[in-house]
Amino acid sequence: MSKELLSGNEAIARGAWESGVKVAAAYPGTPSTEILENISKYQEIDSQWSPNEKVALEVAIGSSVAGARSLAAMKMVGLNVAADPLMTLAYTGVNAGLVIVSADDPGIHSSQNEQDNRFYGRFARIPVLEPSDSQEAKDYVGIALNLSEALDTVVLLRTTTRISHSKSLVEIGERQSRGLKAYKKDPSKYIMVPGYARLRQPEVLARFERIQEWTESASINHIEWGDRTIGIITSGVCYQYVKEACPGASVLKLGVTYPLPLRLVRKFASEVEHVIVVEELEPFLMELVQLSGVKLHPINLPRIGELTPKMVRHAVESAFDDEEQSIDSVPSPDVPSRPPVLCPGCPHRGVFHIFHKLRLTVSGDIGCYTLGALPPLNGMDIFMDMGASIGMAHGIEKANPERVTKTVAVIGDSTFLHSGMTGLLDMIYNKSKGTVVILDNGTTAMTGHQDHPGTGKMLSGEETVTADLEMICRSLGARRVRVVDPLDVNELESALKEELNAPEVSVIIARRPCALIVKSDEPSMECDEELCKGCGICIKLGCPAMHLNDGVVEVDPALCTGCALCAGVCPFGALSHKEEKDA
């Protein structure tokens, strides 16, 4: 067997292929995105982007019931969107194997919160598997699917950013193809009307006992005996930190973190002097171990952010030292921060400039354009979850109708199709006078340019029907729908002023492709030193291609895309395209 260097996400894709998955669906979200991107490389798997995570899971449920092994992947907050089908899927169980991958983001590298999705396992009474490297990420997909079929349950495969986005060597295998499992009509199993759901509950509890029994003997929970003074219970990437930080300790490595193998935990605890739990985020394992009656030795690990081997070593040493030791952290040098920024030529920039200029209250949404909230654009007031901008803007208007002429909802094309459409419908239905700006850059940019229903292409690259944003908005009941070019700041400003004062819902579609996808063939800009007054208005656009040097603006021709947004805001006509001036 050959070994390949795979990220956790690539390994999950490989695992899905090897274990005979036939249908896979997802909505992109860091750190889960590459799972479906890699699955799509296998011809044998029917893979797709869905408009959102709820639909992705529903597709996977349907295909499981129809007899195909299925997978749905999402980032941790995506499972909130898919929680509705999940909680009832936990009742119905499956036909062919069904696994949900939840990629959590400790450290909040690219998310809006740090929720610990192991709780969904406990909430839904379904098993949670946690791989600790890419090999396990691949293997656990197969284990999860077998478990799913054997015990008639969906299985949650939980990774974290350090598993999904770390590469390690993986022994790869071949695909075990399997035909469709027979589908049998069974209303009492698949139709959860109250009468059937009530009857199903005892079965769910009985199934949980079987899952509990399975986990006691599951080989992915195992003890690595070492020194018996300290016994460490751990899982996921924390297992790697423990092996590095405490090489001599006895370790109970949990591949299944819900439900816990209680007999194994008690046996482990009875054979070591002190038991500690090492885990990131919530004290999830800690509480379950304590519930099992095992007395834990206290350890002081942060409940926020990622751990490191050094933090683990320090916490374990301090736990057995009378005097609290301080961690010998070297402060990083005092250097200016480098926050992410909107790219040069980004079509979103001008929109946030105008929001700021008009002093609007901006209800924002999730995507690259959330960067418009940062200085110098400072163009956002509230931001929550996918699609929230529209409903929240409507709420602002409900609280104080006078604010409507100074409030705007801003949302990207992919996010609008994910879950913004119902918000707009709510506004129109409830007679709002609000204004919604859809930033249509023709892609899901932040996660790395995935297609969506509005791009006219599927995950496979195959062409398909293009969802028409204007027609969607009109069919929801919006009568004022207009399209503007976001690089034309003057047109944008006048359109906004007009629509903010309109007596009904307005939708402005600011349409221009992402600057990273459609490369500009415009010459770069340059600044006429004679005309430039160094006022800094253009600098407030926050474009990485320009800066002030000795009171005069300089443009970096290597970065500048020639979008000319800066020329549009310059009061002195100092900025122009290079060739234009030479001509």
Partner: protein, 207 residues
Amino acid sequence: MHSPTNILLAGVGGQGTILAGKILSQWAKISGMDVKYSEIHGMSQRGGSVITQVRIGEKVYAPVIDIGTALYILAFEQLEGLRYAHMLSPKGTMIVSTQRLEPSPVLMGVASYPEGVLSRLEAEFHAKVIDAPNLAQKAGNPRTSNVVLVGALAMVMNGSKEEWMRAVSETVPPKYVDVNLRAFHLGWNAISNLKTEMKDGEERVER
């Protein structure tokens, strides 16, 4: 068992630290060693500060590097070299590009780019300075700065040049193999030239 060799790649989103990390990992695989490699995607990629971590050894557990334990730091930009210098082991070596990219607070005039970053890194961390943008231009594509730096690191790490070249060829897209190999050689040679100069310099210091 020896502890793994930790390599930290620090740069700005879009500079190609991820590809450089992939070449290092591929080299480790060719050399028959265990390797782990960790990167961050998503929001920070939009021109923000990014790091890629590579650990190579007989057996590697954690995919991340602790403070003060990086045996090598490859800094794709001056300020990023300074930002992550505390990650360097006392026995470690830093290679830093002359590339200077002003972060948004500096562009906006609310912070200033520190003066003399390169000389500070040379003085405090014995950093080896490589004019990667210029060498990449010489190689024939300004976007190969990352592979110039990999060439420099490969020379410092003293591996077999053939294995390194194989790692480059197997990692970059097929149509860009030649230009990247040129970039690799220019980086490799830049360090050997530097080494000769260094010998003279070190002698002077000792006197």
